[in-house]
Amino acid sequence: MNAVDGSDHYSKTSDEPPPSLLTIILDTNPHAWALLAPTLPLSAAIANLLVFINAHLAFNNANKVCVIASHTRRAEFLYPPRPTPPTTTTTNNAPDDSSDDEAMPDPSPSPPKKHSQTLLDDANHYRPFTHLQRTLLSALSTLFATTNSDTLTATTAIAGALTLALTYINKQQLLASATVSGPASSSTTNTDAATTTQQSPGLISRILILSVSGDLAHQYIPLMNTIFACQRMAIPIDIAKISGDTVFLQQASDATGGVYIKIKQPKGLLHILLAA
């Protein structure tokens, strides 16, 4: 009886603002970053971004982050790492390389221990921050390692990254509403994603695009599709434009009620990220 009362009490008092999911799409087009190198090298930009992400995570314990790289010809998840079977997660440099897993029947208890040890190395760091930083950086380095000069173009797969982001957000929102209102009701209401997300904001989502390159004409249709999907799901798209010029992304932020900032002083990126 006591337990029941306690749990009731607890669930009612949790009146804080709902957790928010921040999805960052980082344009990692090497051409554009090479041009930017004198003012804002990519490493500095990522350092700024990490501070911003940490700030976001620090606001609320339940806040989530998703980082997606929009590379020259593909889009990849950087932060929520691909959940490979537990054997490969310890090798910090290859979270994406899932070709050799499941073949080794290692006992599962040992990898988490090693994992936590590597994390505990740095006693001055809040562990989630460290975890995020390591995963993100290692994913980035694998991304660049797998890029060879043949595939280099001055373009970026922004539509793909947005699609990935939206699908991920949708899943997270489904999960969030399932935990809030019970699995039965969520499965009946997700018939129409638009109404569901507006009715039960179990998770507030937004998308931030750090864009450095220009538009691509052939991506117009998929990009517009994602923009309309964002409109339906009431997800604002914020754009931080460091260089280049895009009409499509301006439309995106305008249609979804987001912010479009053209950053004139790239060195002040962190300031703008934190203030805007």
């Binding site: 010809r73 889009a75 173009t153 797969a157 990935l164 699908t167 949708n170 899943k171 997700n190 052939h218």
Partner: protein, 483 residues
């Protein structure tokens, strides 16, 4: 007086009998359609027999499977690219007769209809931004104009909301409503579609004349009528639908709502633009308008307010018609001065996914699932179930006599494998993937059911195709760009 009452009762029962005959003749094969279940107690589907106890003694696995099948069922639509009429002229006819007071759909048919119609209107304009819609009501044997043809969803929604205060009254007249619809659609230009959507709760229609002449007139005017019944199938609706849509099977044009959810689905199905039938286009080949003048106006922001041409109200912002430079305050619209269709490019882009639909993803069988190197959904990182984990977690489509199998758990694994292989040669019958994976045939990525539903219903993009290295595609486009 008493006599006429007697006759009237007789009429109804005739109608009902007719409806039942129709039901039995047409509804035999498909329970999903279940036309007219309200009248047909013989069509009991024994849903509880599909529920099978899982190995752990609960029915959760079965329930999950059914939910998944349900999600998937909605998805499997025709994805062959068709020429569709995206500039639509639609008249929505709502039944406002006493039959709508019935409470078989909660709270009442009337209130539920009004709520769904509001949803329908916003969804309709979401999907068809350059379409025109009008609303007509059937009350007291008359056709009542509720809102005029217009492209602004808010006009319609406020008008429909006002109906909430009024009680349904009298009887419905199909003929009057159809005549009014015909008069409204008759002048629609040739490049648009002319459609009527009828929500019909009554079982009878009290008409001033011969409704068959009206139907002939509709056919001559190339107006298509689709009907959603709320009570049971009615023979005259069937006739209207088959005569005005000669090339489309009746199942797509006339259906009776089984429950609230089904009603909603039926309404929402209408938001997809209709395919242009080949017969009709061939016939109109001579005066076919393949190109259409449209203006893409630019937005202006004045310091001083000026009058707009559409409402004659002073506004400070607006759009200038690209041909005659008159100012209109909202898009899409027709220029009130020169009659040019004014739209934004985003309005056209909104309709693209009807014209270039995303292909359905296929189910993945266990052998192929195991051969793949992918262990999680490409987008949401949900781990796919493995076959060993799923052998105790059978899907209802696979398990026919699962209760006994679940008892003999030690042998289930072998059975499951055998059955999986048996089920493999006939894909797409159940719609549910046994491995929980769905594959895009273009890029070969595997996705989970939630991402499948989302990609097809909301984003209309394949996350795999968009985010993988599109070697061929990119090579082609860069080549053309360089040229």
């Amino acid at each position: 007086m008493a006599d006429s009452d007697q006759e009237y009762v007789q009429d109804i029962s005739d109608e009902e009998v007719e409806a039942h005959i129709v039901t039995r003749g047409a509804g035999d094969g498909s329970k999903a359609r279940g036309s007219g279940t309200r009248g047909g107690a013989w069509e009991v589907t024994r849903t509880w027999e599909n529920v099978v106890e899982g190995a752990d003694g609960t029915i959760s696995s079965t329930v999950d499977g059914m939910l998944e099948a349900d999600k998937r069922k909605r998805l499997l639509k025709d994805t062959t690219p068709l020429q569709r009429g995206i500039i639509r002229q639609v008249l929505l006819v709502i039944d406002l007769s006493t039959a709508m007071v019935e409470k078989d759909l909660r709270p009442t048919r009337h209130l539920l209809t009004l709520r769904y119609v509001q949803d329908f209107i916003s969804e309709f304009f979401e999907q068809n931004p350059i379409a025109q819609l009008g609303v007509i009501g059937m009350r007291d044997g008359l056709a009542v104009r509720i809102s005029d043809m217009s492209g602004n969803p808010n006009d319609h929604i406020t008008k429909v909301q006002e109906l909430r205060a009024e009680e349904p009254k009298g009887q419905a007249s199909l003929q009057n409503a159809l005549e009014m619809a015909r008069a409204a659609l008759f002048h629609a230009p040739a490049h648009t579609t002319r459609e009527v959507l009828l929500i019909f709760g009554s079982l009878l229609s009290s008409d001033p004349g011969d409704i068959h002449t009206t139907i002939t007139a509709l056919v001559n005017a190339k107006i298509t009528v689709r009907v959603i019944g709320l009570a049971a199938q009615v023979a005259i609706c069937n006739t209207i639908v088959t005569r005005t849509n000669p090339s489309i099977p009746t199942t797509d044009t006339y259906a009776v709502a089984l429950n609230e959810q089904h009603y909603r689905d039926l309404l929402m199905r209408f938001t997809t633009p209709p395919a242009i039938s080949q017969a009709r286009t061939a016939e109109e080949e001579a005066n076919k308008s393949s190109l259409l003048m449209m203006g893409f106006p630019s937005r202006i922001a004045d310091q001083e307010p000026s009058f707009c041409a559409c409402h004659s109200k002073p506004t400070s912002g607006g759009y200038l018609c690209s041909r005659c430079s008159s100012k209109v305050c909202s898009l899409p619209t027709q220029c009130p001065v020169c009659g040019l269709q004014l739209i934004l490019s985003t309005h056209l882009a909104r309709s693209y996914h009807h014209l270039f639909p995303l292909r359905n993803w296929v189910e993945v069988s266990w052998p192929r699932a195991e051969a793949s190197t992918q262990h999680d959904c490409r987008t949401c990182h949900t781990m796919f179930p493995t076959r060993s984990g799923a052998s105790g977690h059978q899907k209802p489509s696979v398990t026919t006599n699962g209760h006994r199998d679940a008892m003999a758990l030690s042998t289930t694994r072998g059975n499951a494998n055998a059955r999986a292989q048996k089920a493999a040669p006939k894909p797409a019958s159940s719609g549910v993937s046994e491995s929980g994976r769905y594959e895009c045939e273009t890029c070969g990525s595997h996705f989970c059911i939630d991402c499948d539903v989302f990609s097809h219903e909301v984003s209309h993009n394949c996350p795999g195709c968009q985010s993988l290295e599109e070697e061929v595609h990119m090579a082609a486009t860069t080549a053309t760009e360089e040229d």
